[in-house]
Symmetry: C2
Subunit: 480 residues, 2 copies
């Protein structure tokens, strides 16, 4: 063949769209590098990466207990000096005990683990699920993964059998889903979330999307729910979850519950799909007994925020044994999830308990992060309320706000001349003027005729929010 070109490589990779780290993100990194080299020509002094849910890149500090344990796992020779760790370096006895426990089950963190993850950590996850949901869990159906993304990749690889295999995807969505389905040459079946009810799930809309897809010959196999939502922050009620599970049971759809934001909830309460399904199975075993549910969780978000360590897991309920064997084989081809990330999963699901020496500090750190996120979300929300043409629901959870914007006709025309969608045009101009990097709503999908952007509320301070407000006013004045 000739050289590789855009025209002859895998067309499904070329078709995939992933705006979270797209042109805007690349440009923001160029600016950051310029500033680091002392550039004085840019109209801002720092880049604010509000495009990625990357807590520790911004202001979130790692939890001390977690990192003390990890430091011992990386250098077990520190255990030859327990007295120094305790007396001088601020380690507590439960840190040392947990590190020893992990080392006894993991061996070296530099060794591959079993493909589906370290057995003792799978047992800890099972205990966590039981405590959270009130129903026991079986470790043999738990798979450690390199972040939830890697778990999603595994599950979609299994689910998608041909180009007509379809997966119901919420819109707006985290674009991992549509990008992965593009790469797999399978079909995204979008269903819109309801902005008017704070981005809730409407069963009528789901049914309509499902029926239209079926009529078009799509073999719809699964429904993805992101709860709490990304980019929306919405946290589903138990009633909403029940109705999704009813529908899945009726149509024999696999349910993929992406629950990575389960601790990032400001309004209401997190209900896991697992708990609701197991309740429904008690109420009506005949109807719900064989629903297939994959629930995903991660160390990347929440107060843990350890995304650079790439850890997570998924748990399967109701899957066929032979299908699970194929899942095992698939994950074994990539050997195992990062072992230090697996250890962080252990620490996340089994943190210091009341009475443990590290508990007080853990609680203090955890609570401060939670409150900080809520305060920042509120500050941002208040700012958006004052911006012309911007509408934003009250912050509910996750790490994002997803306001809608109405732009003047002049801006829409200027965007068209620039070959960009209006929201992308707006975000590009914002980045160029302020160094603040957002993701345009088109990167997540939005209803025809509406415009949005997603911002994280992870960056410290309010100065950057002021920059957005000032830019917005000037932008509106320019194009009004």
């Amino acid at each position: 063949m000739g050289r590789l070109t855009l025209g002859n490589i895998n067309p499904h990779v070329v078709e995939a769209k992933y705006a979270v780290r797209g042109e805007l993100a690349v440009k923001s990194e160029v600016y950051r590098a310029k500033l680091r080299k002392g550039d004085k020509d840019l109209p801002f002094k720092e880049v604010i990466s509000a495009n990625i849910g990357n807590p520790q890149q911004l202001d979130q500090k790692p939890i001390t207990f977690f990192r003390q344990v990890l430091s011992i796992l990386e250098n077990p020779k520190l255990l030859e000096h327990e007295d120094v760790l305790l007396s001088t370096l601020g380690y507590k006895t439960d840190v040392i005990a947990r590190a020893k426990w992990l080392l006894s089950h993991v061996g070296s963190v530099g060794a591959y683990s079993a493909s589906a993850g370290i057995p003792a950590i799978k047992e800890s996850i099972a205990k966590f699920l039981e405590e959270r949901d009130g129903f026991p869990a079986d470790p043999s159906h738990i798979y450690l993964s390199g972040g939830a993304s890697s778990g999603v990749n595994t599950l979609l690889h299994i689910l998608c059998a041909s180009p007509t295999s379809g997966i119901l995807i919420p819109i707006p969505q985290y674009p991992l889903y549509t990008a992965s389905l593009s790469v797999l040459n399978a079909t995204s079946v979008p269903y819109y979330l309801d902005e008017a009810s704070n981005w809730g799930t409407s069963l009528d809309t789901i049914k309509e999307a499902y029926n239209t897809a079926k009529d078009n010959g799509t073999d719809v196999r699964a429904i993805v729910i992101i709860n709490p939502g990304n980019p929306t922050g919405a946290s589903l009620s138990e009633a909403e979850i029940r109705s999704v599970l009813e529908f899945a049971a009726q149509e024999k759809l696999v349910v993929m519950a992406d629950e990575v934001y389960q601790t990032n909830v400001f309004v209401g309460k997190f209900h896991s799909f697992r708990q609701v399904l197991l309740r429904l199975q008690q109420e009506d075993p005949a109807k719900f007994g064989d629903v297939e549910l994959a629930s995903l969780h991660s160390i990347s978000k929440g107060m843990v925020g350890e995304c650079g360590h790439r850890g997570g897991y998924f748990e399967l309920l109701g899957f066929d044994k032979e299908v699970e064997e194929q899942i095992y084989k698939f994950v074994s081809i990539t050997l195992c999830a990062p072992v230090i990330g697996q250890c962080l999963v252990e620490l996340m699901v089994n943190p210091p308990r009341p009475g443990d020496p590290s508990h007080e500090l853990y609680e203090r750190e955890y609570g401060a992060i939670f409150r900080g996120l809520r305060e920042r979300a509120t500050a941002l929300y208040e700012a958006f309320k004052e911006m012309e043409g911007v509408e934003c629901g009250e912050p509910q959870g996750s790490m994002y706000l997803f306001p809608s914007i109405r732009l003047p006709a002049g801006a829409l025309e200027a965007a068209a001349r620039d070959g960009r969608s209006p929201d992308e045009f707006y975000c590009m101009r914002l980045l160029e003027a302020t160094g603040v990097c957002l993701v345009p709503g088109s990167g997540f999908g939005q209803k025809e005729g509406t415009l949005h952007f997603r911002t994280t509320f992870l960056a410290p301070g309010t100065e950057w929010v002021g920059r957005i407000k000032k830019f917005h006013k000037e932008f509106m004045d320019e194009f009004r």
Copy 2:
């Protein structure tokens, strides 16, 4: 649709074969769990996992310098006690300096990095490549990955455009390649390595495989070379590499050089594809100027042996800019390689130098691991020489021996009755009798009518080798 079954999930995943962690490996883990619970009924007291190149699961100790640096990256608060680290805990000043340097470039190891990896680490890799090969490297064509496996996955995703896209794969091979191509629904084009010349590469064989595939309508796009070889240990001569590159230039094939065993060389010298290509480009720019080469490396093997940390990189030469943009997008969908693994790549390519405080210990540890591997390989080789029907080339490198075995007709018949290939039957019986887990040659591919097994030489001691010898004699006696 109905429930997920083996019959309706992705058939390309079902077709994929990955024996390294297949039935034998699963059974060995069951035995290990039994022994841990105190089982006395098995005819052995420990399981020897000689099936996986997993150094630190067995006897290899991590390099002290590496792990001391990582312990600080995980818990930067240790830097508040530099005096204690230096005076009491055995850290040297270069450990602290490197940790500070990394923290200044990485920020928190709990944050996502740039998708293609941390810029400062890409610069260190470029310097390493320049030192190793005598030609400068451009960091912008370097991509950090979660082990070499993840890099292979990325590259094959780009290369395979349709079911007729073909990739030349050496046989025997590490089954990641054929498994990934199965999942991608693309075509493996096997070319046999020459056992008679110690598993060298024969250009005639490659050409024949290429022409046959072309005649059958396969669009052959790339050639994979594993050098030093897995499972063979063979280390290619410069002349062999030149001839492969000549062929690739002539047929416009992308060259994928899997060089993860580059420091595991006992006989001869490692020659990188990159160095040989750049030399050829000096000699004949018109012919070699636009050869596309992807070279892969990893922290998993060699004296580093940190496979649990999932780190590695690939470097691209001669790739089209638009194609690289697609590679960037693809890796960005999975966000970034584990950051601690990226830091280990930095330490691997930029270890303590002569005169540095940690250098002496580093050299001592590194040398002891290297010599230990060579001694174990030799002990195993000597044992194989004494075993009836077993033939094994002199150990050359990597972490494996791949002897051929001739089994009596009775064993072939018993295997057929058992529904297994004869080498699989042999390895299963060996595992059941001794607890030693090998991988049958059929897991890597082998010439019709030949039988092999692969064993790592990572396990300590010679007692387990004695167990293999004893089993082998009894097996031969049983079926003779």
